[in-house]
Amino acid sequence: MSETSPVLRLTGISKRFGAVQALTDVDVALFANEVHALVGENGAGKSTLVKILAGIHQPDAGRIQLSGEDLVLSGPAAARDLGIAVIHQHPNLFPDLTVAENVFVGRLPRNGVRGVDWGELNRTAQRLFENLGVKQSVSVPVRGLSVADQQLVEIAKSLSLDARVLVMDEPTASLSSHEVERLFTIIRQLRGRGVAILFVDHRMEEVFEIADRVSVLRDGRHVITAPINELNPAEAIRHMVGRRLETLFPKEQATIGEIALEVRGLTRRGVFSNASFQVRRGEILGLAGLVGAGRTEIARVLFGIDRADAGEVLVAGKHAEIKSPKDAMRLGIVYVPEDRHAQGLVLDFSIAANVSLPIVERLSRLLVVDRVQERQIATDYSKQLQVRSTGVEQVASGLSGGNQQKVVLAKWLATKPTVLLLDEPTQGVDIGAKAEVHRIISQLAGQGMAIVLISSELLEVLGMADRIVVLHEGRVAAEFARDDATQERVMAAATGHVEA
């Protein structure tokens, strides 16, 4: 590793979205012939940094220098023209165009008046893939290619653009181990040709296999950059989680009762396998893990949105067949989804109409909804959850994020559930609303509800849960009692790094 000047240098990069400070004063330098790994927890700011490099977001402050020259990445096209290629986790290709067309999209070779020179196009594209040492027919449509092959198309595209900087955002997330090996071979090859590579990931074993240098982000701040041989996985994890205050979420003690929900060997092929855990009344079970570890997917199966391929679910000790959300609700299981805009609220409806939606049939007498009772129920839950509004007739689209989340919760509480599956309940809400949501969760457990809390925020899980099940790539990697769980241990299990 020569201490030459960096190809790309970011200095003092800050970026803010509304109330959320995504990046604060981040410095990163990428060198030619080097793979630079960027690691951090979910929400540490990795994706924001990638999007800044891709020209999708513009930083609020800071400098970006390419070969020592200041530049502004005004948009994706500008980044591309400057030789910065970004490969996103999910390749953005045109499925109906051929591989060759995708590689040269927007720059198809012309042939006088006759239009596209197909022969030239296919020959050039074929040469790119041969250069990568990959067998790939370039005249087939991209639709039907595996994610790994689609990534190669993106890589071929970046080669054709003579990219000097290649940014890869969690490229291995949906690859098999064999495909990861092939990708790493290609990455090493590109490194040998002088490309500076930024490799964003959170799997420790991969990072330590491929990277020459590691930078750690935490809460949007740059923590450390070190050559790979000066750091070990455990240290990297410690930098990722850091040491932070733990008193944000006051958890009330609740009486733990009998088992409300038990999952035995639950499997959904390609998503998660052999998941087993149980949760008791009054208990909060934390489901920790990285994005894509299978937490949400398990919740969706438990709520009957998706079906399991194998395994058994027991509700209150009895075998349960959950084929639809209706079945789940009848059994007292409800699921408060992650993306409340897409799955949670009808934004044109009033608070009252949203709250009554799951029970609207029960509230109807002779076809017509009992408005008085509806108002009463909505008012009761709004009061309990302290929804700030002009009244239950207010339209949901006008509420703040935190209050919308409370309305979603109120809606599900109106069905009087015994098991509550909460998916990222505080995502996108500000810090005050967050503490309030935690108070509510704690209070509901106190009332005897069994709660499964899915959260990407380690502190939230550690602060709220009585027990923590950690998932890694669709499997239960570890289970901790509240007192045994530390940030380091949970993070190590979540990143697939087995503790010594």
Binding site: G18, A19, F303, I305, S324, P325, K326, M329, Y335, P337, A342, Q343, G344, L345, V346, L347, D348, F349, A353, S356, L357, P358, V360, E361, L363, S364, L367, V368, V369, R371, R388, S389, T390, E393, Q394, V395, S397, G398, L399, S400, G401, K411, G428, V429, G432
Partner: protein, 346 residues
């Protein structure tokens, strides 16, 4: 100002938000009021230009012209709310109109019997659309474009170039359109009752709420266990039934029916629905709005005829109103969305 806001650290900001939220809610409900205002402006302008326009009998004429379209628009609104559309309504009206007329002509059934059969045919045709869309999952715009031609084809098949004329129809049937109840023409009364009944049920019944929920947020609807498929099927059945009712009344209103009756009606109906503020992407809008939209378009048509303006102006103005109505909606929505973003909603 809400007393709950006081204990919040940013109470003034919150008060501002709540004010804004009130305005938003109001704007959503103001859609119907907006149409009424435009309607009054049109009436005022035309009255100044042509005083003849402003008379009870002329208004009655306008409402009579609207009544059948309004009944179909009620059904169409139900379908559009679920993010679908029924292009076949014109053909359903035509087919039912001819079938009913034919039954009356041949005296196979009494007036009541023929009317009942006509309504049932409409219901059946709607159910077929519903099967295509809800069960076979054919996109509504394609499925009903297909049945638009199929139903019209059936119409031609049974009509075979014939026509049902006023002479062929029993007096009891023809009398429906010209009769009045307490001075109000029966057709107008029927349309008003159907519209108000549907408006009440869509707003207050469980199924009505669920229809809005499906259109507004299909994923949320699925997640709360709403039987989406069954309700979309139901919406098409209701739409078919409404078109059937309009079809049954068609012969009585116009005296004669041929195989081309009600051709192109679907576009008039959809225009009324859109001008009336029903979101073509589903989830919001009301039957009352759709009916007001139909009245607005019919009033303008009537006014232009009284002012002796050409057909070109009529079509151009109809088009302009559709664009204006939808454009204003988009602009207002966009404006408030931007304000909300600025006040810190995620």
């Amino acid at each position: 100002m809400s007393e709950r806001a006081i204990d919040s650290p940013t109470s003034s900001a919150l008060a501002g938000r709540i004010g804004l939220e009130r305005t938003l809610t109001l704007v959503a409900r103001l859609r119907e009021v907006g149409i009424v205002i435009v309607l009054l402006v049109v009436v005022a302008i035309v009255t100044v230009q042509a005083p003849l326009f402003f008379s009870i009998s002329n208004f009655e004429q306008i409402l009579l012209n609207v009544s059948l379209i309004a009944i179909v628009a009620v059904g169409q609104t139900t379908v559009v709310l679920t993010r679908n559309v029924d292009l076949s309504v014109g053909s359903v009206v035509g087919l039912v109109a001819f079938a009913t007329g034919d039954l009356l002509k041949e005296h196979t059934l009494g007036v009541a019997g023929a009317i009942a059969v006509g309504c049932l045919i409409g219901l059946g045709l709607g159910a077929f659309n519903g099967l295509l869309v809800a069960v076979a999952k054919v996109p509504a715009i394609v499925a009903t474009l297909g049945t638009l031609y199929v139903y019209r084809g059936l119409d031609f098949l049974i009509a075979g170039g014939k026509q049902v004329s006023a002479i062929d129809l029993p007096r009891g049937y023809l009398g429906i359109a010209s009769s009045t109840v307490l001075g109000v023409p029966t057709l107008i009364l029927a349309a008003a009752l159907i519209a108000l009944g549907a408006a009440y049920l869509l707003r207050n019944s469980g199924a009505g709420r669920q229809l809005y929920a499906i259109g507004s947020n299909p994923t949320a609807a699925e997640v709360v266990g709403i039987p989406t498929q069954r309700l979309i099927f139901g919406a098409f059945v209701v739409c078919g039934l409404c078109a059937g009712i309009a079809g049954v009344l068609w012969g009585s209103r116009f005296g004669s029916v041929n195989a081309l009756a009600a051709s192109g009606l679907e576009l008039q109906v959809i225009a009324a629905v859109v001008v009336g503020g029903v979101n073509i992407f589903g989830g919001s809008g009301t039957v009352v709005g759709a009916v007001l939209g139909a009245i607005l378009l019919a009033t303008i048509e009537n006014a232009l005829r009284i002012l002796h303006l050409s057909e070109f102006w009529l079509l151009a103005i109809d088009g302009a109103i559709i664009l204006l109505a939808v454009g204003t909606d988009a602009a207002i929505r966009g404006y408030f969305q931007r304000i909300l973003m600025r006040t810190g909603r995620r």
